[in-house]
């Protein structure tokens, strides 16, 4: 019988990586299904969307403490993600440039 897909043509590492991603996707899907019945319970009740922003002079003192760490965490997360991503680009660029220089040398050597 003729096979629809010839997996022998796909490198082994690649099929492993694809399987790993498929497993991760399956786990995320299962978590979503398990979480769905509790989604209604998580909906806040009796709360409507604000119509606009109204300025206020002071925040009550008891409210400032719990909000501040969350606010700080939000700004730190943004910075960490931005700098982390920039660092990955820089690393990948360095590696490709090194490979490019090696390839150029090989071209020059073959040409000579």
């Amino acid at each position: 019988m003729q096979r629809l897909y010839d997996m022998s043509a796909v490198p082994r590492e690649r099929t492993t990586v694809v399987r790993r991603w498929a497993l991760i996707a399956l786990c995320v899907g299962c978590l979503g299904i398990l979480g769905a019945p509790t989604a209604d319970a998580a909906q806040p009740t009796q709360q409507s969307a604000p119509d606009g922003f109204v300025p206020m002079d002071d925040v009550p003192a008891e409210e400032q403490l719990p909000a501040a760490p969350l606010l700080a965490a939000a700004y730190i997360v943004v910075w960490v993600i931005a700098i982390g991503y920039l660092w990955t680009i820089w690393r990948r660029l360095g590696s490709v440039e090194k490979e490019l220089a090696d390839a150029m040398r090989r071209v020059d050597t073959d040409g000579a």
């Binding site: 806040p44 969307a49 300025p55 206020m56 002079d57 606010l71 965490a73 939000a74 440039e97």
Partner: protein
């Protein structure tokens, strides 16, 4: 991509991000939400940067599909990655605000669910590009255009569906005290997005050059 553009853009974004905390600290506290509302200045701005990246992704994908421009494809890959990064910022800062304002980290609200789906579409694009093999570039371009088609729905989701997420219509009506730090932050994120796009697109261009060199070496 212009090699000089990246340092200029990253320098400009540093200026924006250096001044933004001063403006945000000086901005008044919001009456209903209190101090936690200040997350909004980076949260909204990160979504705006994501929108820009998705627009670039969609347009570049269309150019690649219909005009067969390889440079457009390289820009699309860069834009998809940047969109995932800014989307991740939005998806993390949102729950940090929600846990204080709504009392829960996450709710399957129309806006939050759509944002999550859009992020997953972009992740799917990147996985397709990484492991899809030959021909996946055209398939991914279709996915990129599909991601762009989702943008208007995401933007108006708070207006057309029943949702507890603050509506987008609030933004144009903001008083100057709230508006200045917001639009300043948006400008900073847009410039940062352009800087990341420039750097990432350069990486793709160098990879393409390397591929051409290897092909030339094989032919010899």
């Amino acid at each position: 991509m212009n090699k000089r553009a990246f340092p200029a853009l990253i320098g400009l974004s540093l200026v924006f991000f250096g001044v933004a905390p001063i403006l945000i600290v000086r901005a008044p506290n919001e009456q209903e939400m209190g101090l936690i509302q200040k997350i909004f200045y980076f949260h909204f701005a990160s979504w705006m940067a994501m929108y820009l990246a998705i627009l670039v992704l969609g347009i570049s994908s269309a150019l690649f599909l219909f005009r067969r421009k390889p440079s457009a494809d390289r820009l699309a890959v860069a834009a998809a990655e940047a969109a995932v990064v800014f989307g991740l910022m939005g998806l993390i800062t949102g729950p940090l605000w929600a846990v204080k304002s709504w009392g829960v980290w996450w709710t399957w609200d129309a806006r939050t669910t759509m944002a999550m789906i859009l992020e997953l579409i972009l992740v799917a694009y990147l996985i397709l590009r990484a492991y899809g093999g030959p021909g996946s570039d055209r398939l991914a371009a279709g996915l990129g255009m599909f991601a762009m088609a989702n943008l208007p729905f995401l933007y108006v989701s708070t207006e057309i569906w029943r949702t507890i997420h603050p509506p987008t219509s609030v933004v144009p009506q903001l008083p100057v005290d709230f508006g200045l730090p917001l639009w300043w932050s948006v400008a900073g994120f847009i410039v940062l997005c352009l800087a990341l796009l420039t750097a990432r697109a350069r990486l793709e261009e160098e990879r393409a050059t390397l591929d051409r060199l290897y092909l030339a070496l094989e032919d010899e």
